[in-house]
């Protein structure tokens, strides 16, 4: 038997503890059940694409940090790859290794934030969140050592990276890898088999495989649906073809699968890190690139597998020192396309959980 009540509209956000930034969902509720949902974007729109048109090619790098601010390295990398493709710049070997190492560290850090906030949305009162942040702190420390800041790294440069690894970096990283591995196992004990989490997240917010491909989902959201599509394997940029790792996939594309895919990806990232730390050669870290890059007129699209999905930069050059057009493919924005389909019919609590399982960053969605 279904009890019907008068539907009412609930504005979730823009200021709400679980919207991961300033996002607003206009939910129509029938009692506890969501019957309609309209996402409202734009509260964090800063016009980065427009700003990029007025800056030099290297001046855009600090802007890209501010897209997905929990994963600035991968944004940096995507942009830098696009400009390098456009200008035909080759990158020294050591710089490629450093890029891979930093990207994978960043992926672990970003996934820790995603998983932590997902579990926090599920209602595990801040404990897993703070555990994840405790581990993330180790990575942030390493980034601080590497480039002097803890969140907005601006580390990649056109033709390489900004600075070489300090002497104490690799020993600290070697120490970090086994530590992190044991901690991931520990946190799996914490909530992986928890009955309440299974009941809350399993089978909830299912994104069918076909829909996922159709909406252009990428990253853990796509892989959670069982699609084995990871740009590091499908279209290996940088030197990802030299490393051995697996692509974890989910089964049915529910919240739990997305959560598990993220955790497994952290393990795979640790594998890549281990290999990269062993193989990293000595040498130059930056190609011979002038301060003001002037790529020839043309356009290039480069993409990387960021923690949220495929981060792409479409850079159009007119031969001047500033990009003519710099389009950013924001994975979070695309992942949110099917938000309504997934949430309608579930309850308010599931709404929060499903939304949390996307692990979006509003800086990237609104740009």
């Amino acid at each position: 038997m279904q009890l019907r009540t008068e539907p009412f509209v609930l504005n979730i956000g823009p200021v709400h503890p679980s919207t991961h930034g300033v996002f607003r969902m206009r939910a129509t509720l029938d009692g506890e059940v969501v019957v309609d949902l309209e996402p409202v974007f734009g509260y964090l729109h800063r016009g980065i694409e427009k700003l990029a048109e007025e800056r030099t090619y290297s001046g855009v790098i600090p802007l890209t940090d501010r897209l997905d601010y929990v994963a600035s390295i991968t944004n940096n990398l995507a942009y830098v790859l696009a400009v390098e493709k456009l200008a035909g710049i080759t990158v020294p070997e050591r710089a490629e290794y450093i890029r891979v190492i930093t990207s994978e560290m960043q992926r672990i850090a970003a996934h820790l934030v995603s998983v932590g906030s997902f579990l926090n949305d599920a209602g595990a009162y801040f404990t897993p969140f703070l555990y994840m942040y405790r581990e993330r702190e180790n990575i942030v420390d390493l980034f601080d050592m590497l480039c002097g800041q803890r969140l907005l790294y601006s580390y990649m440069r056109i033709g390489g990276v900004s600075q070489d690894l300090p002497d104490e970096f690799l020993p600290a990283l070697r120490k970090f890898i086994p530590h992190m591995r044991s901690r991931i196992n520990e946190y799996d004990w914490l909530l992986k088999e928890n009955e309440i989490l299974l009941a809350r997240a399993k089978g909830v917010g299912i994104l069918p495989r076909e829909t996922a491909i159709s909406i252009g989902a990428s990253g853990p959201v796509l892989r959670g649906c069982g699609v084995k599509w990871d740009l590091r394997k499908a279209d290996p940029y940088s030197i990802y073809d030299r490393f051995e790792f697996d692509i974890p996939t989910g089964i049915q594309g529910d919240c739990y699968d997305r959560y598990r895919v993220r955790v497994e990806e952290m393990r795979q990232s640790l594998r890549i890190l281990e290999q990269a730390v062993e193989q990293i050669p000595a040498g130059e870290i930056r190609g011979d690139v002038p301060q003001l890059v002037r790529p020839p007129a043309g356009e290039a699209y480069a993409h990387v597998e960021g923690p949220t999905g495929e981060v792409g930069f479409h850079v159009v050059s007119d031969g001047s020192i500033a990009p003519y057009r710099c389009h950013i493919r924001a994975p979070s924005l695309m992942n949110l396309t099917a938000l309504k389909d997934m949430i309608v019919g579930w309850k308010v609590q599931d709404l929060i959980l499903i939304f949390g399982s996307f692990a979006i960053t509003m800086g990237e969605v609104d740009r």
């Binding site: 974007f41 734009g42 729109h45 016009g47 694409e49 427009k50 829909t211 491909i213 159709s214 909406i215 252009g216 989902a217 699609v227 599509w229 499908a234 279209d235 290996p236 073809d241 043309g298 356009e299 699209y301 993409h303 495929e310 792409g312 479409h314 159009v316 003519y324 057009r325 389009h327 493919r329 924005l333 695309m334 949110l336 396309t337 099917a338 609104d366 740009r367």
Partner: protein, 145 residues
């Protein structure tokens, strides 16, 4: 590695099915006629051998005389990609929407409408996405100041 399909060969295939759809072919991209964009897209999605099931990104560039909308199609099955472009005039910026084929066009077309001012015919929800509804102008146009 995602291979970029040879544009000339794909253009030939399109020409066989939809004569007059291809305007120009370069090494990097195929420029198609704006009016037949939807047919071309449908052809891409449903032709064996092409099977473009994944619309990665849509971009619009303002070239002062015209707008150019750039589509990047990827096929997950064959792991190949193709760039398709379409142009529309500044006076009447409008193109057919691809939402009926790929839902990923939904937010991206809305964003292009919002920031570049190109209307996509057939889009179910052609509203501003990041700016508020009363906003005047389209900021990513080169003449917007």
């Amino acid at each position: 590695m995602t291979t970029s399909l040879l544009t000339t060969e794909v253009a030939k295939q399109i020409n066989e099915h939809l004569p007059g759809a291809v305007v120009e072919t370069t090494d990097a991209a195929i420029l198609v006629n704006g009016n037949s964009l939807l047919d071309v897209a449908d052809f891409f999605k449903n032709t064996a051998g092409l099977d473009f099931d994944y619309l990665t990104t849509i971009t619009a560039v303002d070239y002062y005389q015209y707008f150019e909308v750039i589509y990047l199609f990827v096929s997950m099955e064959h792991n190949h990609s193709l760039v398709v472009k379409a142009r529309c005039s500044r006076e009447n910026p409008s193109l057919p929407s691809l939402v009926s084929l790929w839902r990923s066009a939904d937010h991206q077309e809305r964003e292009i409408y919002d920031l570049m001012g190109i209307t996509f015919e057939g889009h179910p929800n052609m509203k501003r996405i990041v700016l508020w509804p009363e906003f005047q102008g389209h900021p990513l146009r080169k003449d917007y100041l």
